[in-house]
Amino acid sequence: MNIVVNDEPKVVAARTLATLIGELGLADARIATAVDGAFVPASGRENLALTDGMKIEIVAPRQGG
């Protein structure tokens, strides 16, 4: 599967967003996700099937003003 994670092209084995998060070692991390510009809550990651070309954003807490 060819997808884009945080603007980086990646080839992944994962079929769902939840397994992708696990593959990236972020299963226990405090993160939020969006797919193709739309928010996907943590509860929706299991059922979100990845498709070729999907653009995934994974964000975490950071310093802000």
Partner: protein, 256 residues
């Protein structure tokens, strides 16, 4: 004044960006005795996990967090960011920024009102970063906002209160709405001035983070905010154009 039903322990809101180190950030937050700290969301890389260390730090600081939508230029980006922030930070408070111009970072007030309406309907408690425009303020309140955050000057400029007349008019027009000067404050006297105008809080970031000694500057801002708040409550005298002797004229000896 209550912010969506919640009292702040201090009218000083402190941003967490641009400090020389996490330790200095922590000491600045403590010296400021900040009532709120602002935070953000950025991409997390699988290797670095920078966000997880920052999350631990803000948990330790134990100060209410106000996540922002900094850097968003469209309604869609801002709304999606707000949803992600609500999940990550476990708060429905959102400092809503919809930026309209890259040079001045001034808000796109049209997009701001639209995003504020969408988010308010979705249960968010929106803190809109806006201008001092009264009509925009009315629209934001109609969209569901119960707090307004007008700028003092462009973000990071340190130029203080650019339009004191406008900020005073906003205060007079909305006596019951919590008002926060957000952006542009450079030195503690600017923060004191905002509080003297009767503002309920100020939000400071660059002025503390970029000071030579951020922790000491945080303390200076705490004292300034306290002084300005007390001054407003004490009902300051009116300025006048002519001198008026403070020492009584009666009883003055004739020595000429």
């Amino acid at each position: 004044m209550l912010f969506y039903g919640t009292p702040l322990t201090s009218p000083l809101m402190l941003g967490t960006a641009q400090y020389p180190s996490p330790e200095i950030l922590a000491s600045a937050v403590r010296e400021a005795q900040a009532g709120v700290i602002t935070v953000s969301l950025r991409r997390e890389s699988a290797g670095q996990k920078a966000g997880q260390a920052f999350w631990s730090l803000i948990r330790e600081l134990n100060v209410p967090v106000l996540p922002n939508t900094a850097g968003c230029h469209t309604v869609k980006e801002a709304v999606t960011t707000a949803h992600m922030a609500r999940e990550v930070f476990e708060t429905d408070w959102i400092k809503l920024e919809v930026i309209g111009d890259s040079d001045t970072l001034q808000p796109d007030v049209f997009g701001l009102v639209e995003a504020a309406r969408i988010l308010s309907e979705d249960g968010f408690k929106v803190f809109p970063y806006t201008t001092e425009d009264l009509v925009v303020a009315e629209r934001l309140l109609a969209a569901g906002c119960e707090v307004l955050m007008p700028w003092g000057a462009p973000i990071g400029s340190g130029r203080g209160l650019n339009n004191v007349f406008g900020l005073r008019a906003l205060r007079a027009h909305f006596p019951d709405v919590p008002l926060v000067v957000d952006a542009g404050i450079g030195v503690p006297s600017h923060a004191a001035q905002a509080m003297e105008l009767g503002y309920d809080a100020v939000l400071i970031n660059t002025a503390v983070a970029k000071a030579g000694d951020p922790a000491l500057m945080a303390r200076a801002f705490r004292l300034a905010v306290e002084a300005g708040k007390a001054a407003f409550e004490a009902d300051p005298m009116e300025a006048r154009d002519m001198a008026a002797p403070s020492t009584p004229l009666l009883g003055r000896p004739m020595l000429a």
